[in-house]
């Protein structure tokens, strides 16, 4: 696993943003490396000295949120990674049965620091925003996005949101051209309100989501629709695909996502897991209907051998190598390079259910 935070020491009283550089930097956030040993490195910048404990990982170019009081730095933007995600809050108003990152009650507002970090991001980067539910802090969130994108039109954001908090009055704000660089990743689990509400454990969530979709459509917001594949959602995929073609033809992509054995799903795996390897028919019907209507559809987190041949082109090798795992017989598979494989935390008993292609 790639470490996303480090133990640090700094004399600065308040949290600050640090960009770690090899050469003398130009900005106030730049910290230059003064010395490095096997277990730690020492950096110097406008905020004084910063000592970071790490095992020789390359952290040069990375942007840290430094919290001196707690002796910790969050590595929020890794210069060499395409998958940087800012966890802007851990609060959430839904409690999805398969949540991979169960929410917490308290919120630590770090939007100003995130904004500063984003402004320092490498050119052209797509920055993920996740939670918790980012739009619980809508004004701070939109404020941060607008400030960053006004100065850095080369950047874009991908924001995961349950879309429970968009109101009529947000439409004009979201029409600002900076939002052409923002994609909202929004989950919809069923076209049946009862099923959707059950999955997200919030009565009325479906109705609220639909009204947000109306506002977002009027704002020409860019939307990636997400459906996690569980024993509850899979049987409803075909009607859901019809609902999407009818009501959400403007989405940029429909992402069908294999279940992750993490967070809440870990203890509910047997109830939640849908064996798509044995029965792909619901998924196939849904993909066909969406594809027919020109809705781009992608499958995430499923190994290619679980997908019938004619649907493999919809699959994305979505699991990055540092959290990826393969079965024993995958060694001889010719499609391994293009395959998502399994998550590192996929149940052991299922990892060898593979058929080399």
């Amino acid at each position: 696993m790639i470490p996303l935070n480090f133990e640090i020491q700094s004399d600065e009283p308040e949290p600050f943003v640090a960009r770690l550089t090899r050469e003398v930097g130009s900005g106030p956030a730049d910290f230059v490396c003064r010395s490095q040993s096997e277990s730690r490195s020492l950096w110097c910048g406008d905020h004084g000295l910063l000592e970071i404990v790490h095992n020789g990982e390359n952290i040069e170019g990375d942007i840290m949120l430094v919290d001196p009081e707690n002796g910790r730095a969050d590595r929020v933007i890794r210069a060499t990674s395409k998958h940087n995600t800012l966890l802007v809050t851990e609060q959430c108003d839904q409690l999805c049965v398969m949540c991979s990152q169960p929410p917490k009650k308290t919120h630590l507002d770090r939007f100003k620091l995130f904004e500063e970090a984003c402004l320092l991001a490498p050119a052209g980067m797509v920055i993920g925003i996740s939670g918790g539910e980012p739009t619980l802090h809508m004004d701070a969130l939109l404020g941060m996005i607008e400030s960053v994108l006004r100065e850095r039109s080369d950047l874009s954001f991908h924001i995961l949101s349950n879309a429970q908090h968009f109101e009529q009055h947000h439409i004009l704000r979201l029409c600002d051209p900076v939002y052409r660089n923002v994609v909202w990743g929004i989950p919809l689990y069923s076209s049946d309100p009862v099923v959707h509400d059950t999955v997200v454990a919030k009565p009325g969530a479906y109705e609220r989501l639909i009204s947000s979709f109306e506002h977002l459509l009027l704002a020409a917001a860019r939307i990636e629709l997400r459906t996690v594949l569980t024993a509850t959602t899979v049987p409803g995929l075909s009607p859901l695909s019809r609902f999407i073609a009818r009501n959400l033809p403007h989405i940029e992509q429909w992402s069908l996502m294999g279940l992750e054995n993490i967070g809440f799903a870990k203890n509910r795996w047997d109830d939640l897991y849908a064996d798509l390897n044995t029965d792909f028919s619901d998924l196939a019907a849904a993909i066909d209907w969406a594809q027919l209507h020109g809705i781009a559809t992608k499958i995430f987190n499923l190994p290619l051998c679980h997908i019938p041949q004619h649907y493999r082109s919809f699959a994305v090798a979505s699991i990055s190598d540092w959290k990826q795992r393969f079965g024993k017989s995958c060694v001889s598979c010719r499609a391994k390079r293009d395959c998502s494989g399994f998550f590192e935390w996929h149940p052991d008993k299922l990892v060898d259910e593979v058929t080399p292609l």
Partner: protein, 506 residues
């Protein structure tokens, strides 16, 4: 994408501002409703609901392109006060809530073409050609003629145009004449593309001669080759110059290139004489034996030299449509028998995509409105700019000057404005009544070419007849229960399996 979404937003908000929430699709909803039943209002209000008899069924469509097929023919007149909108239409076409209303508004807007920046160029570096085919559409010049290639000034203007392109991706097609006679000019254009632009190039060539200069260009991964293959060798030879030696030379070169690159790099088009239609199977075999599974059937165009020698091509009565249909039927039968490959006719596939997929409008001959000289342009050997290749040919053959400017001075001209104003099927009395309007397009150049005017009633034009017939065929097939039909349609539309059943009702 940026521009599209922004404009879409404008389109929707404009509609909404016109009369509040409920106006998005049914704009007559604000009319006094006292003495009208709900069904009457819904059927009467112009959600662009239009009917068409297709076989013994009635097709109903709306402006968003949603459709339903009713099993009974002879639909009740909408003016009949007892008219009741069938449930199938309600389910398929009438929005059930605000979100689906907005969705339909979005789709109706998306079906309308919005030209982006110039990203498709057709360039004619030379008009000279080493062949003189009987149907030549481009009024070619003799191989040794002078003054039929770009001169230095024209080349400089073309390079300046190419180097200033602002689109993220562009396609540049080299036509002729025979462009492979001037690999140096092709090379110069390729090198002028801005480094940040993703470009693909198509060389439209007769493949008569392949020398080192053109081969070096073919070898580039961003270059595609397009050629004409009229069918089996004898037919190909007959339609060209009746010269069997040259036809053999072409086939040898085509085979050699397919061996060298695989079939993916090469596309071929047959040019078909409607007076001497080839046997569909012979044509299909000529293609599939080379590993080419896609064909684009096109009848001889009433242009260029073809205008003089094939005067009968002006009006093709119903035989062309019947042939096209027979051809599609054969593809369907063959696909069902041999599942190892999918044969397709690309224009019919486009028709299918236009029905199901709002925004499938990059085919410049079938879109509405059809912007002129915006996202694509043709630059001739003398630097003149034309809205389409057909417009260039029509001008070359002396029928009417359809140039809209030139490469040095641009083409933001009165001529462009005049053509563009007419380049739509909006407001046309025939089109406005037509159930296929949301899917169809407008090709004013074709009308000018055939009738010398754009005012011919639509239903009397070849364009209209040909497309009515294609859309009829498409909708019959979309609702067919024949598994062979559903098999091919599913593949042509890019699905993993057969076309699913549509909602339809008695």
């Amino acid at each position: 994408m940026h521009g599209l979404a922004a404009l879409t937003f404008l389109g929707i908000s404009t509609l909404l501002r016109a009369g509040g929430d409920d106006v998005a699709i049914g704009r007559s909803i604000s009319v006094a409703t006292s003495d009208l039943s709900c069904d009457a209002i819904q059927s009467a209000h112009p959600a662009g609901i239009r009917f068409r008899e297709v076989g013994d069924h009635t097709l109903v469509t709306n402006e968003a392109g949603r459709f339903a097929m009713l099993e009974s023919s002879g639909s009740q007149s909408q003016s009949d006060p007892s008219f009741k909108l069938p449930d199938a239409i309600k389910t398929a076409l009438i929005p059930e809530n605000r979100l689906s209303k907005l969705a339909q508004t979005f789709e109706a807007a998306k079906r309308r073409t919005r030209a982006g920046p110039l990203d498709y160029l057709i360039l004619v570096p030379t008009l000279r050609c080493n062949l003189a085919c009987s149907y030549c559409q481009v009024s070619r010049a003799a191989i040794g003629a002078s003054g039929h290639d770009w001169d230095d000034g024209t080349l400089a203007a073309v390079l300046s145009l190419v180097s200033s392109l602002s689109s993220a991706s562009i396609k540049i097609e080299f036509q002729g004449g025979e462009p492979s006679l001037r690999p140096d000019l092709i090379e110069a254009v390729i090198n002028a593309v801005p480094p940040a632009t993703t470009a693909s190039f198509v060389i439209c060539t007769n493949l008569q001669i392949i020398n080192d200069g053109i081969l070096a260009i073919f070898d580039r991964p961003d270059v595609l080759i397009s050629t004409s293959l009229d069918g089996p060798e004898e037919l190909h030879s007959k339609q060209r110059q009746g010269d069997a030696v040259r036809a053999r030379e072409f086939h040898k070169n085509l085979n050699w290139l397919i061996d060298r690159y695989g079939p993916g790099k090469i596309s071929a088009l047959p040019t078909i004489n409607p007076q001497a239609l080839p046997d569909p199977d012979a044509l299909i075999d000529a293609y599939s034996s080379l590993g080419l599974h896609s064909l684009y059937l096109r009848p001889i165009n009433f242009q260029g030299f073809a205008r003089k020698r094939h005067a009968s091509a002006r009006q093709t009565d119903g035989s062309w449509s019947a042939y096209h249909e027979r051809f599609i039927d054969r593809l369907i039968e063959r696909n069902f028998l041999d599942r190892t490959k999918v044969l397709e006719e690309t224009y019919f596939s486009l028709i299918l995509r236009r029905i199901f997929q709002p925004g499938a409008d990059r085919h410049v001959d079938l879109r509405n409105p059809n912007p002129v000289g915006r996202d694509y342009i043709v630059i001739d050997y003398d630097g003149m700019a034309y809205p389409t290749d057909e417009a260039r040919m029509l001008t070359r053959s002396g029928v009417i000057d359809l140039s809209i400017g030139n490469v040095a001075e641009g083409w933001d001209s009165d001529a462009r404005a005049a053509l563009e104003a007419a380049s739509t099927n909006d407001g046309d009395p025939t089109c406005e009544k037509c159930a296929y309007k949301p899917y169809c397009g407008r090709d004013i150049i074709d009308d000018i070419s055939r009738y010398g005017t754009i005012d011919t009633p639509k239903e009397e034009t070849e364009f209209c007849r040909r497309h009515l017939s294609l859309f009829d065929l498409a909708f019959k097939m979309i609702h067919s229960k024949d598994p062979a039909v559903r098999y091919s349609l599913g593949r042509w539309l890019g699905l993993g399996s057969d076309l699913p059943a549509m909602e339809s009702a008695a």
